[in-house]
Assembly symmetry: C3
Homo-oligomer: 321 residues x 3
Amino acid sequence: MKNPQLNKHGELQHLLAIDGLPKSVINHILDTASSFVSIGERELKKVPLMHGKSVFNLFFENSTRTRTTFEIAAKRLSADVINLNIAASSASKGESLLDTIDNLAAMHADMFVVRHATSGAPFLIAQHLNDTKQHHVHVVNAGDGRHEHPTQGLLDMYTIRHYKKDFSNLTVAIVGDVLHSRVARSDIHALTTLGAAEVRVIGPQTLIPSGLEQMGVRVFTNMNEGLKGVDVVIMLRLQNERMNGALLPSTQEYFKQYGLTPERLALAKSDAIVMHPGPMNRGVEIDSAVADGSQAVILSQVTFGIAVRMAVMSIVSGSHG
Amino acid sequence: MKNPQLNKHGELQHLLAIDGLPKSVINHILDTASSFVSIGERELKKVPLMHGKSVFNLFFENSTRTRTTFEIAAKRLSADVINLNIAASSASKGESLLDTIDNLAAMHADMFVVRHATSGAPFLIAQHLNDTKQHHVHVVNAGDGRHEHPTQGLLDMYTIRHYKKDFSNLTVAIVGDVLHSRVARSDIHALTTLGAAEVRVIGPQTLIPSGLEQMGVRVFTNMNEGLKGVDVVIMLRLQNERMNGALLPSTQEYFKQYGLTPERLALAKSDAIVMHPGPMNRGVEIDSAVADGSQAVILSQVTFGIAVRMAVMSIVSGSHG
Amino acid sequence: MKNPQLNKHGELQHLLAIDGLPKSVINHILDTASSFVSIGERELKKVPLMHGKSVFNLFFENSTRTRTTFEIAAKRLSADVINLNIAASSASKGESLLDTIDNLAAMHADMFVVRHATSGAPFLIAQHLNDTKQHHVHVVNAGDGRHEHPTQGLLDMYTIRHYKKDFSNLTVAIVGDVLHSRVARSDIHALTTLGAAEVRVIGPQTLIPSGLEQMGVRVFTNMNEGLKGVDVVIMLRLQNERMNGALLPSTQEYFKQYGLTPERLALAKSDAIVMHPGPMNRGVEIDSAVADGSQAVILSQVTFGIAVRMAVMSIVSGSHG
């Protein structure tokens, strides 16, 4: 099946996944974002690129943080934003997902920012809009199940490019619960596409999906070995709910084996940067000394994230079906 | 008592109910809406008619869908929108309804869009604002108890007029749980006022209010007989909660007797249109083949609904007390 | 420690408490508010003073009413407003308060309006922003624990000044649950700073904090004595939850001893004004005849409150670190 996120001219009309995105499209997004980074620092933070457009935040799964970043990005593009907490809405009245989508599209929506607990939901929505020729509506995936979180992947790439310029010599380590992480999946696809020299994944055997090596990734279960000589460390958030299951021992035990401490970070290159998608669990996956240390670029990720989302929204809303 | 929704010049200052609205006012709303329909399709969807005005969505009863349509309409008129979920607010702090209203009016509100589980609540609010000479605040009823849902009634009329041009030769059937439906009540008043040739109501005896014939309506309990030769079929949503009571057998039984299937729809005129206020229960009151069929104009209702709400909001906010 | 709400030029960069605010700063806020009062009455209620700025309503404690007043004030200043109900957000994901703050600041926020159940939380946030040189973000306290509610205190002063012109001859009585009232605390500091002739506090012994006399306040447990000859009566809301504890007898008993009735009000000066921060408990702390009577200025407080919040927001966002 044709990739529904690109139109027939190869332009980005929806952002659903990093998987399948050509390098040129990723670079176009990052270049566009770079022009938006300075806007946040100006006295007047708004540009009129989406003035008069209606952006719907469709959060079938609650996430105040992520919703906020998209809301700010849309408002800085001068769009009107409508927040819909769908969990509390028609979904509970027995309406089907696609009926909800058709209804909102009929209100002349221009964009759906979709968060959903089910992998593939934004893909399903975009495919349906394409099939029914509702080309005026663009879909941006704000995280779907364990699948992808493409804007997080893109802002991570923006951050790495900002600090390291070139991907071709970089060794990047992604540490933690890769099995349940849509961020990890998006990052791996992006790093591979952009030509990182080596992508490593570090975590307990139980939290590493099998067959990951076929994605061009080196797997380490020993943290100290995995960190040796890396340029970039991407820490993943440990979901508290995993602790209740059989997958992990206690958080103390986890921190002892996979927590990023200053001692461990010293194994990486001396100019290595430390990233985290937030919110952080201090003392679980990351030590406060590292989180607040000079190598951490975690708050830069947040700042760049707004610019990257502005770039994605303005690019897809400027494309045609 | 004087109709509180019209000022002394007979202009619409609040929209509370279709009941009591002169034909000329209804037509003025529909004509105004028609100028707004094209706005939704433009690149720039905003007009400055309510720039600087503050619209408060006062939803004492939760309804994300309806709140969204009013929020979009207000934003396309360039108003500022404040969403208040009052169920979770001061109401629970023991404050009286009218104290809440006076407080919000004192913030120089321009409009209250009111949804309330109690029939008559928007009427009470409008009457109070009139009595206390707070003429700068206009009330729009977004659904009150079993009473009326006037903007739904108006958008239904807009839709019928769009497809059928003239009301005077039309036979319209309203099907379902008429007893609990504020939509049905608004539709019946509107159709009668606009001079529809015949208004029919179809449903089980237990869901038809007694005395309906006095509103100029023909009642059918047999679906096949009721649909014969009609130009317009308005399906009502079956509230799931009715099923738990003694009023109805199972949903399967209901669908068998009153569900709109292609076979049943064939009894209506060949160019009959099918309407539904949404959200639909597919397989309960309507068959998917009909909902997605060529005679369904359900998504057009949604699109027209935004324009009709823009018309109502701009008309009432332009009136004076 | 230096007062974190003033910058090195003595300008207001955060509004955290009335306590410690110089008289000149209070008067500057009231004078600025006065220019905003008329804006609410204009056809076009907006001024572009904060166009392009991002105001975050950070409500760690739910309060629809207060959030609404800040949202309106910010929108009338043309700011973009982001509402965050933090109780339901990252706080529950184990993130620390200051990590949340740093994250939002990294999104280039311009202002945090903070409501928190813990006394001192806005102070902590402002101190942290100052310490980390994030001077672009300004904090406004929208109520913290039992500590202060400075914008309520300022709008109360605006109201008193509006009706009584000069503070130097005024006797003001604050009546009710002073112990738990942040409003009372802000009012006492403001009245003292502005040079009111006498500030009285009236309430049951159990609801009067000890040592209040050292704030320059006269304490009365007998309502009739306390009201004699006063110019201004500020009634406090009785929190229903206090009734469950051992601090108070029944609401009927409370009303009998401390409820403001027309008879009691007659003990004050004949031109005394009656104030209440809302929402009112009619029949508990205030009789309806008084609440709706000609001496009540309760709805004026609400109107002035928007102008005062506009003044505070525009002043702090115009200051530099």
